[in-house]
């Protein structure tokens, strides 16, 4: 069964450093998403991406965040200057344009900012 692949599974970074979280969506999917889950809390939408541009973003997705699909297969989330409160699990997901079956989520990247 096709999978969404996220790397790394765990990243530790110093406060103020830039991090890039990587995702490989399912190959025939056209919509891509990032969500985050602070430990013990609910899953929050960050951004959706379609046709090489952001289609929707939340209030959380401020100027510190950016997304990119650099090569037609990878989908990345960059956090420019990490803060302690960015520590969370980050999930990538993808969906077909006409799928009625929800998304396929990746297994997540646990980001720890120290």
């Amino acid at each position: 069964e096709p999978e969404v692949t996220q790397t790394p599974s765990h990243q530790v970074t110093q406060m103020g450093q830039e991090v890039i979280l990587r995702c490989v969506p399912i190959s025939n999917h056209l919509y891509f998403y990032w969500y985050r889950q602070i430990l013990g809390q609910k899953v929050e939408f960050l951004v959706s991406f379609y046709n090489n541009e952001i289609s929707e973003k939340s209030e959380i997705f401020d100027d510190q965040f950016s997304v990119e699909r650099p090569d037609g297969s990878n989908f990345t989330l960059k956090i420019r200057s990490t803060k302690l409160e960015d520590s969370a699990m980050y999930f990538c997901a993808s969906s077909e344009i006409s799928s009625n079956y929800g998304y396929t989520f990746g297994s997540g990247t646990r980001l720890t900012v120290v």
Binding site: Y35, V43, S99
Partner: protein, 119 residues
């Protein structure tokens, strides 16, 4: 804005018994999708079951079924014959149906319910 509420932070069930997880939501839309996702300790989000709002019939997937009450904006998940592997965090989620019936768009999640299954 749409909101999703899960009022049960934790639930427990004996193996082989039945448990029901509650979810309510608020929306002004008439057509949308509702989902239950399972998050085991591995933290992966796994789709359990989905319901389209315009369908009257409650969705069923093996031991999992929903009770969808559109007027009450309620969407509960029933797990029958509970198994140890059902132990996980369960999230209820909502997604608006976009124009033309396409189903892309953000998911709005509830706070989650931790389900413990006792042997």
């Amino acid at each position: 804005a749409q909101t999703v509420t899960q009022s049960q932070p934790e639930m427990s069930v004996q193996e082989a018994e039945t448990v029901t997880l509650s979810c309510t939501y608020d929306t002004s839309e008439s057509d949308y999708y509702l989902f239950w996702y399972k998050q085991p300790p591995s933290r992966q989000m796994i789709l359990v079951i989905r319901q389209e709002a315009y369908k009257q019939q409650n969705a069923t997937e093996n031991r999992f079924s929903v009770n969808f009450q559109k007027a009450a904006k309620s969407f509960s998940l029933k797990i029958s014959d509970s198994q140890l592997g059902d132990a996980a965090m369960y999230f209820c989620a909502y997604r608006r149906k976009k124009a033309g019936g396409t189903s892309y768009g953000k998911l709005t999640f509830g706070q989650g319910t931790i389900l413990t299954v006792h042997p």
